[in-house]
């Protein structure tokens, strides 16, 4: 369809007008052309020119802020420290409020187990298996414990980890309520007898 309609443009010797018929704009350089392509003598669109100036002004201001004024909001390490400090203040308030709320309305055992399961599935499952059957980490469903099976034993392991065996400390990743809930959940797995259990490790409770 468009094989031949431009071919007349290819004729180098054709006499061209100095003005484009459609836009009434002057051609640049009279009738010169490249393989039939001509160029119009339009100026730069003003809005584009001003956009360019604005971006240059913004950029230079930004660089002056950094190089001359050493503005702290641009220096990332300082930005980071500020973020951490601000968060610390905010969480302290939130933790106190949460404690008050918890004391007013304690969770039922069912709610505790449900909340514990959510934590377990996010955090513990990767090493201890979907049903607590044990994978890289030990089995939670049998009666054998390496570091003790009392709630306070579990609390110690979760808080401090067993680093030489690859159990990390979760103190900074889970809050106290979450840790208590997950301990309750883990202890509730006793005797559930899931498939693919890891062989017993440690001593019988």
């Amino acid at each position: 369809m468009h094989t031949n309609d431009n071919d007349k443009l290819k004729e180098p010797n054709e006499v061209h007008d100095e003005i484009d018929e459609v836009t009434k704009i002057k051609y640049f350089g009279g009738d010169h052309e490249y393989d039939g392509i001509k160029e119009l003598d339009n100026p730069l669109p003003p809005w584009l020119k001003y956009l360019f100036y604005v971006t240059i002004i913004i950029s230079i201001s930004y660089l002056i802020l950094l190089f001359v004024f050493k503005d702290e909001s641009i220096i990332q390490v300082k930005e980071y420290r500020k973020e951490v400090m601000a968060a610390r203040d905010k969480t302290e308030v939130a933790v106190k409020e949460e404690a008050v709320k918890m004391a007013a309305a304690p969770m039922t055992q069912e709610q505790i187990l449900a909340a514990g399961k959510i934590i377990y599935d996010k955090t513990c499952l990767v090493c201890h298996g979907k049903f607590g059957e044990g994978l890289v980490g030990p089995n939670f469903t049998d009666e054998y414990w390496i570091h003790g099976g009392k709630p306070e034993d579990l609390l110690k392991v979760i808080n401090e980890g067993v680093l030489e065996k690859g159990m990390i400390s979760y103190k900074s990743q889970l809050n106290k309520t979450q840790i208590n809930n997950v301990i309750e959940y883990i202890l509730s797995l006793q005797g559930t007898n899931p498939p693919n259990q890891k062989a017993p490790q440690g001593v019988k409770n």
Binding site: M1, H2, T3, D5, N6, L9, P12, D20, V22, T23, F28, G29, H32, Y34, D35, G36, I37, K38, E39, N42, L44, P45, L48, K49, L51, F52, T55, I58, S59, Y62, L63, L66, F67, I74, I75, V77, E79, Y80, E83, A87, K90, T91, V95, E97, E98, K122, T123, V126, C127, L135, V136, G161, L163, E164, G166, I168, S172, Q173, N175, Q178
Partner: protein, 713 residues
């Protein structure tokens, strides 16, 4: 004046066009495959050469250098001859260029799948291929400048300005970034380390986008848009301003790929500001393209080829608006490491590069074969499918990228991460990945329609190998600038001077950014506790690079509370001084690994966990999308290569003790034995000479140095 008779060489244009189509099919299918692999781990087939870490570089290299590369050469070989009224300088050079480039592509595909890689994105090819690329590129330049110098037109048109800038900049980028010390025939270590390597790499990477995907396509646009529409270029003055500002500013923008990394603040600031300043010059190109169509919009409505150009140029405008936006640190803090970047890139790739290439092919093939396009209707169908495909491709990635970034950053009121398990944030993306793959599938379908249309067109026509032409010989022009001509007009008839000025324009930014990181020590503060890798860790690191782990995992913890809470202390420049190449990564399909080995850290896992996880990640967590690497437990470490690797590292300035290469194998075996022994206590029996042992050693080293003592000196 006497008219000279000559003919245009259509053979090379045709060859490059066919190569564009063939590699287009390969590259797009590779893209479709990896878009499925990313959410269906089974599609990695458990084989090393079909796994994402290797197929992803095949996709990127195939579409950039094979598909788009050949499209560029098609455009240049066609338009250069006609714009200069002369035949290509040498048929022999054309032939060497064509076959040389195709051989490089084949070599690239084979070596990348076999795991030979430098681990630097879009520059993965190993040193012998890099040398071949340099030679072929020089031959291409020789042929192009030979043609320019024997021209029958007094001045060179704006397309050719862009071709010249493309040629010289790609040459500089490729040579500087590929500098490496060979260890063996297909293994080398890059000359640069850590932050410096990252800076050089992204100076290269960003400007590969600028000078391989942008400037040659602007040249293409300046030829084909007026040619196809029959309309004059909107503004000659705009061409001049946006050409020079674009090539000068672009080269500075690379550091915007390293915002909030351990790159010094002043370099990041240059990356941000020069990206912002690029907006108007980029839009200058879009405007000159679109406004050229003034008075031809009725034609655009009827002609699918012009429609492709219009949507392609608009996509260029969109992605060059988005680019500066993503360079603001506040926006980048969200977009970086997520799929947002992938979406952004594909607006440019599928829209600008893809649609312009399709338009060019539909216009060119009938002319080369002296016939009409087999079906304009099918071309129209292709246009709509491709446009729809871009929407289906990009929108889910924008949604997914932003969602994931916000989940990474979400804290509970009492100060804990809302989603401490990285996998939770991945699960959100699966539906998005499905829609994206559908978009990719549509794009492939559209391309196959093109293939059919082209084959039918070729069958109907007869190839015009030599196209007769005539033009008067070039009259000798005064060597000095005449009074009536402007400075730039004068430059347009002095191509060598033009080349020199363009070279100066593109060198300034790179020199100012890269050199100070070598000369001024404060840019990369030393950390005394950071030590070279042990021989086993070094071998493991090479496996990490070989398997393309960096395509999904970063090693760069940004100074955000959400990242230091998740991963540990943020990354410092002094930590990566022995990393040849750097492995910061650019995408987090999986979590960051910079602190993976820190026992007291937040993400530590025991050796046995890593062993099981490498072999079958879904065994550890069934929702994981990581592919398995079972062959790592079968393949043996290439122990004999160790002394050579240590020697190469010493040449690069890594402070191993004197004659350490002689003890390296012994040390390697001792460390491997201790890991194997540890695995045995967890009930895993394995020989200590397996690749998996080396990789575990490397993973367990990550972040360890700085955790023992982080004294900045």
């Amino acid at each position: 004046m006497e008219l000279q008779q000559f003919s245009y060489d259509n053979r090379m244009t045709r060859n490059f066009a066919i190569a564009t189509i063939v590699w287009g099919v390969v590259g797009l299918l590779a893209g479709l495959l990896i878009s499925l692999q990313i959410f269906i781990p089974g599609l990695n087939f458990g084989l090393d050469f079909t796994t994402f870490g290797r197929t992803r570089p095949v996709h990127t290299n195939a579409v950039i250098f094979a598909f788009i590369g050949n499209a560029i050469f098609t455009a240049i070989y066609y338009s250069l001859q006609r714009l200069l009224k002369t035949r290509m300088y040498s048929d022999l050079l054309s032939k060497i260029h064509f076959w040389g480039w195709q051989s490089i592509i084949v070599a690239a595909a084979v070596t990348l799948l076999a795991g030979f890689t430098t681990g630097k994105e879009y520059a993965e090819l190993e040193w012998p291929i890099d040398i071949a690329i340099t030679i072929v590129w020089v031959i291409f330049g020789w042929n192009m400048f030979g043609t320019i110098l024997q021209r029958r037109t007094s001045h060179i048109y704006v397309s050719i300005w862009f071709y010249i800038a493309t040629w010289v900049t790609v040459a500089v980028l490729h040579i500087v970034n590929s500098m490496a010390i060979p260890v063996s025939f297909l293994k080398s270590y890059t000359l640069y380390a850590g932050v410096q390597d990252a800076l050089v790499q992204w100076w290269y990477g960003h400007n590969a986008v600028a000078f391989f995907l942008t400037t040659p396509f602007l040249g293409m646009m300046y030829y084909f848009v007026p040619k196809i529409s029959g309309r004059p270029v909107y503004s000659y003055k705009l061409s001049i301003v946006h050409f020079w500002s674009l090539i000068f500013l672009y080269i500075w923008a690379g550091p915007h790929h390293l915002l909030y990394s351990s790159l010094p603040d002043w370099l990041q600031a240059l990356g941000t500001t020069f990206s912002v300043m690029l907006l108007a010059p980029s839009w200058g190109g879009m405007i000159n393209g679109l406004l050229t169509l003034r008075g031809a919009w009725d034609k655009v409505r009827r002609d699918p080829i012009l429609k492709m150009f219009v949507v392609g140029i608009t996509a260029y405008g969109m992605s060059t608006f988005e680019g500066p936006l993503l360079s603001f640190k506040t926006v980048n803090a969200i977009s970086h490491f997520t799929d947002w970047t992938i979406g952004h890139v594909h607006i440019g790739a599928l829209g600008w590069n893809g649609l312009l290439t399709f338009g060019m092919i539909y216009w060119l093939i009938p002319r080369l074969y002296n016939t009409k396009l087999y079906s304009t209707k099918l071309a129209n169908v292709h246009f709509w499918i491709a446009t729809l495909a871009i929407v289906f491709y990009a929108v889910p990635l924008y949604i997914g990228g932003i969602t994931q970034a916000l989940m990474w950053k979400q804290f509970t009121p009492d100060g804990f991460l809302m989603y401490p398990n990285f996998l939770e944030t991945v699960a959100q993306l699966i539906p998005m990945y499905m829609i994206r793959a559908f978009g990719g599938f549509l794009y492939v379908v559209g391309f196959l329609i093109l293939v059919f249309n082209v084959v039918k067109t070729i069958q109907a026509g007869s190839f015009v190998a030599e196209e007769e032409a005539q033009a008067p010989a070039l009259e000798t022009l005064p060597n000095e600038k005449t009074q009536s001509e402007s400075g730039h007009r004068f430059l347009e008839r002095k191509p060598i001077r033009f080349l020199i000025l363009a070279t100066i324009a593109i060198l300034i930014g790179g020199i100012i950014e890269v050199i100070p990181t070598y000369l001024i020590k404060s840019n990369i503060p030393t950390i005394t506790s950071v030590k070279p890798y042990t021989p086993l860790e070094l071998q493991g690191r090479d496996i990490y690079v070989k398997e393309g782990c960096y395509t999904c995992h970063s090693q760069m913890i940004r100074p955000f509370r959400s990242e230091t809470e998740r991963y540990g202390e943020y990354s410092k420049a002094g930590e990566s001084v022995y990393d040849h190449p750097f492995q910061f990564g650019s995408k987090r399909t999986g979590p960051d690994l910079a602190r993976e080995g820190v026992k007291t850290g937040k993400i530590y896992k025991p050796n046995s966990w890593h062993y099981n996880h490498f072999i079958n990640p879904q065994k550890m967590n069934e929702a994981s999308i990581m592919p398995g690497y079972p062959w790592l437990a079968v393949k043996e470490i290439d122990i004999q290569s160790t002394p050579g690797k240590i020697r190469a590292m010493k040449v690069l300035g890594v402070p191993y003790p004197d004659n350490y290469e002689l003890e390296a194998i012994e040390d390697l075996k001792a460390q491997a034995d201790s890991i194997a022994k540890d695995l045995l206590t967890a009930g895993i029996q394995t020989d200590s000479n397996r690749e998996i042992i080396a990789l575990i050693a490397y993973i367990q080293r990550l972040g360890v140095d700085i955790s023992t003592k982080s004294t900045n000196k």
